[in-house]
Point group: C2
Chain length 434, copies 2
C-alpha cells in the first residue's frame, strides 16, 4: 500500500478512527510512518499523534519541522498539546511554541507546561465553559455558544465571579427554563466538587471515581478557575498507576513493555536482579556461619529454599494487601490492632503449614520427630516475622511519604530471605544445640 498511491490511501483511511490509525503507524517503519502522518489532514494527524506509542511519536516528531508540529498542536486540546510539547527536546520547545498561530492557545499551553505532569495541573485542559455570576441568562447563552466551539464535550457549565473565582455550576436545564433576564447568581448551584491545581493525579482519580464525576474543575491557590479534568484522562491515570504498582511488585522499573528493545528491558530488570543476587550471597555467608551443623544436621541445609520461599511468599502477600489497602484508604485502626491481626493470621497459616511439614517428616527416613518439630517451629517463627516485615515496611514508608509499592516484590523477598534463613538456623541451633 505504501507505493505512493496517495488518494487510494487517503480514501482507505478516511473512515478509520484515529486510534486505529495510530496502531497502524506504530507498526510501520519510520520513513513510512512519517510519510503517512504528513499525508493525513492536520485535523486527523494531531489526534493520531496523541494516541501513538511514546517512542514512535518521539521519532516521528524529529522528522517534522517546527511549523508542522505547531500546526498539529493548534488542532489539539491544550492538555494533549502540552503533553506532546513536554516530550520535545528543550531547545525545540520555544521554537515550536512561537510557531503556534493562535496566541491564546499558545499561552494556555505554556501555562500547562508549568505544572508537574502528575498533578491536577498537569492533567487539566484549559478548554471549558464558564459564565460570570453577574451575567443574565441571555448573555450566558451567547457566550456559551462561542466558548463551546473550542470544547469537545461540555459536561458542565462553571460559574465564576469577577475575579474568576469558582462559585458553582449551572445546570443546562435551569438555564433553558428560566427567563432570559434572570441573573446567573440567582439560579446557579453553589455546591460543586473541585480539586486544587497542585493536588496529586492519584488523588484527583480517587475523588472523581468516588463521586462518579465525568469532569471536575481545577482551581488555583486563589480559588480561581484555571482548568478542567475529564474522566478519560483519569482512566489513563488509573491504568498507569496500576501498571506501575504491578511492575514494582514484579521487580521491573521504568514502565517497560513487552515490545521494548533488549537494552530498555535490561535496564529495567537488571538492578532488581542484582539486589536479589546480593541477598543470595548474604545467605551464603549466613550458612557458612552455621557450617558446623553440617555434620549432624545436614538436612537443615536442604530446607533453606523452603524457608526462603515461605518467608518471601508471606512477605509479598502481607505487603501486597497493605499496599492495596493504603491505595484504597481502607487501612484504618491502630497499629497495635494490625500487629495482633497479622500475628494471629500468621499463627493460623503457620500452624497449618507446620503440620504438613511434620507429616512430611514421617516419610523421610533419616529425619526424626525432634528434627521435624524443630523445622516446623522455626518455620512458624519465620512466617510470623516475615508477615510483620511485609506489613510494617509499607506502612512506615507510606507515613514518610514514600510510595509503599517499592516495598513489594524483590525488596521484601530479598530481605525476608536473608532474615528468614538466619532466624531459621539460629532457632534450630537453640533447639537442637549444635
Amino acid at each position: 500500500i505504501e507505493n505512493k498511491s496517495n488518494t487510494a490511501l487517503l480514501d482507505l483511511l478516511g473512515e478509520v478512527h484515529y486510534a486505529d490509525i495510530a496502531e497502524i503507524v506504530d507498526e510501520l517503519d519510520l520513513p513510512e510512518a512519517t510519510y503517512l502522518i504528513k499525508l493525513l489532514d492536520s485535523d486527523k494527524t494531531s489526534d493520531v499523534l496523541t494516541e501513538l506509542d511514546e517512542d514512535v511519536r518521539e521519532r516521528i516528531l524529529k522528522n517534522l519541522s517546527n511549523e508542522e508540529i505547531a500546526g498539529e498542536l493548534l488542532e489539539l486540546d491544550t492538555d494533549d498539546a502540552a503533553d506532546i510539547i513536554a516530550e520535545l527536546p528543550e531547545e525545540r520547545v520555544q521554537e515550536v511554541i512561537s510557531n503556534i498561530e493562535d496566541k491564546e492557545h499558545a499561552k494556555d499551553i505554556v501555562e500547562l507546561l508549568r505544572y508537574d505532569e502528575n498533578s491536577a495541573g498537569g492533567l487539566m485542559a484549559k478548554e471549558l465553559v464558564k459564565v460570570n455570576e453577574n451575567w443574565n441568562v441571555l448573555t450566558c447563552v451567547k457566550e456559551m455558544r462561542a466558548q463551546a466551539e473550542n470544547v469537545t464535550r461540555v459536561h458542565s457549565i462553571y460559574v465564576v465571579d469577577d475575579d474568576d473565582k469558582l462559585k458553582g455550576r449551572l445546570s443546562l436545564k435551569d438555564l433553558l427554563t428560566t427567563s432570559t433576564k434572570t441573573q446567573v447568581s440567582e439560579v446557579y448551584i453553589p455546591k460543586v466538587d473541585y480539586v486544587n491545581v497542585h493536588d496529586k493525579a492519584e488523588d484527583v482519580a480517587k475523588v472523581m471515581s468516588k463521586y462518579d464525576l465525568e469532569a471536575i474543575p481545577v482551581i488555583d491557590e486563589m480559588g480561581r478557575l484555571v482548568g478542567r479534568i475529564t474522566i478519560d484522562d483519569i482512566v489513563d491515570v488509573i491504568k498507569e498507576e496500576a501498571e506501575k504498582d504491578y511492575q514494582l511488585a514484579a521487580g521491573i522499573t521504568q514502565e517497560v513493555e513487552a515490545d521494548d528493545n533488549i537494552w530498555q528491558l535490561t535496564r529495567a530488570r537488571l538492578p532488581w536482579l542484582v539486589l536479589g543476587l546480593l541477598g543470595g550471597l548474604g545467605s551464603v555467608f549466613i550458612m557458612e556461619g552455621f557450617e558446623e551443623a553440617l555434620n549432624e544436621y545436614k538436612e537443615l541445609f536442604f530446607f533453606t529454599p523452603l524457608i526462603a520461599a515461605m518467608a518471601g511468599n508471606v512477605g509479598v502477600q502481607s505487603s501486597a494487601i497493605i499496599v492495596q489497602g493504603l491505595a484504597n484508604d481502607v487501612v484504618k485502626g491502630s497499629l497495635l490492632n494490625r500487629l495482633l491481626k497479622e500475628v494471629g493470621l500468621s499463627l493460623i497459616n503457620g500452624s497449618a503449614l507446620a503440620i504438613l511439614v511434620i507429616i512430611f517428616g514421617f516419610f523421610i527416613d533419616d529425619i526424626g520427630l525432634r528434627f521435624s518439630l524443630t523445622i516446623a517451629v522455626s518455620m512458624m517463627s519465620v512466617i510470623i516475622v516475615a508477615a510483620l516485615i511485609g506489613t510494617f515496611v509499607p506502612i512506615i514508608l507510606d507515613k514518610r511519604g514514600i510510595d509503599p509499592a517499592i516495598a513489594t516484590g524483590p525488596f521484601i523477598t530479598t530481605s525476608n530471605d536473608i532474615f528468614g534463613i538466619f532466624l531459621f538456623f539460629y532457632l534450630a541451633k537453640l533447639i537442637l544445640g549444635f
Copy 2:
C-alpha cells in the same frame, strides 16, 4: 450522635454526598448502620447502598424487609439495582422483585440478571435515550424529553429502526438546528461504536478507553439496542481487573482487603502458601538426591537460596511483562522472535550477574575459581530457563483461553525454584564430576 436525635442527624447528613455517607455507614456497627439507612430518605438511601462495602451491604439488606428493598431499587438505575439484587439470597430475589411497583423497571432488572456480571450485559443499564429513524424531529424532541427523565446523564441519542435495531446516533446540535419536520433518517450519523451484549467486560473497557468514549450502546445477537454502558462503570472494571492481577501476582485470591477478617484472609492466602511449601519440600528431595556432593562441595548447598531467588525473580519479571503485554495487546510477532529476545536478554543479565558471583568467589577462602565458574555457569543456565518458563507459560495459558495472570506469583516462583535447583545441581555435577 446516635442517640435518636433524628432531625439533627438528618440536617447534618442532608448536605453530605452519598459516597461520604456510605463511608460513615461502613464504619458503624450493624444496628446503628441499619438505623441510619432507614432514617434517610429513600432517594439518598438507595445511592448510599450502591456505594457500601459488599459485606456491610449484605448485612444491612438482611435487616430490611422485601418491601423496603424494593422501594430502594425503584430509585436506582437498572444496572445498580440488578447488582444489588444479585447479592441477595436466591429465595428473596423473587419476593423483592414482585414488590417493585414499577413493572417496567422490574422487567428491566430481571433481564439484566440474566447476563454474566463480567459481560457487557452485566455492566449495562437499560436507561438510555433512543429515537426511531422514521420519526420526525418534533416527535423526537417530545419523546426524548419523556425518556430523559429516567436517565441521569444523556451522553448520546441512539437511533433505531422499527425492529429496535441500532442504526446510528444523533447529535443534539443537528437535532436543534434542523427543521422540525425533517425525518431522523436524514440527519443521523450512521457511524457508531457498539459492543455485543456477550462481550467480556474487559474488552468493553479496552474499546471505551481506546476510543475515549463516555458511553457505548450494547446490542444483542439480532443487532437490537438493549442497553448502554457508561464510563463510570468501566472505571470500576479497570480498577477491579488491576487489583485482581496484582493480587494473583502476590499470591492472594478472592479479592480480600486489608480490613477483612482473619478467616477471609486465611482462605485467600493459605492455598498459595501450601503450594510454596510443596515446592520447598520438592527441593528437599532434589537435594537429598545430590547428597553425595556434600563431602567435597558443601558450598553448593549454601548457594541454593541464591539460585532459587534468581530463578524466582527472573520468572516473575518475565511473566509480569508478558501478562501486561497480553492485557494491552502489545505482544506481537512470532514466538521464535520472542524466544530469541528472552534468551538474549537472559544472556546479558546472566553475564552481569555471573561476573558478580565470580568476583564474590575471590573473597571466600575455600572457593576456588573452578567452583566459582561452575556456580556462574549453572546460574546463567537457570536464569535462561527461568526466563523462558516465565515467558511461555502465560502465552500458552492465554492461547488456551485461561487468564495468564494466574501464572505470575507463587505459581511461577515455585516451579522455577524446583526447576532451578535441580538444574543447578545437575550442571554442577556434570562440570565438577561428583
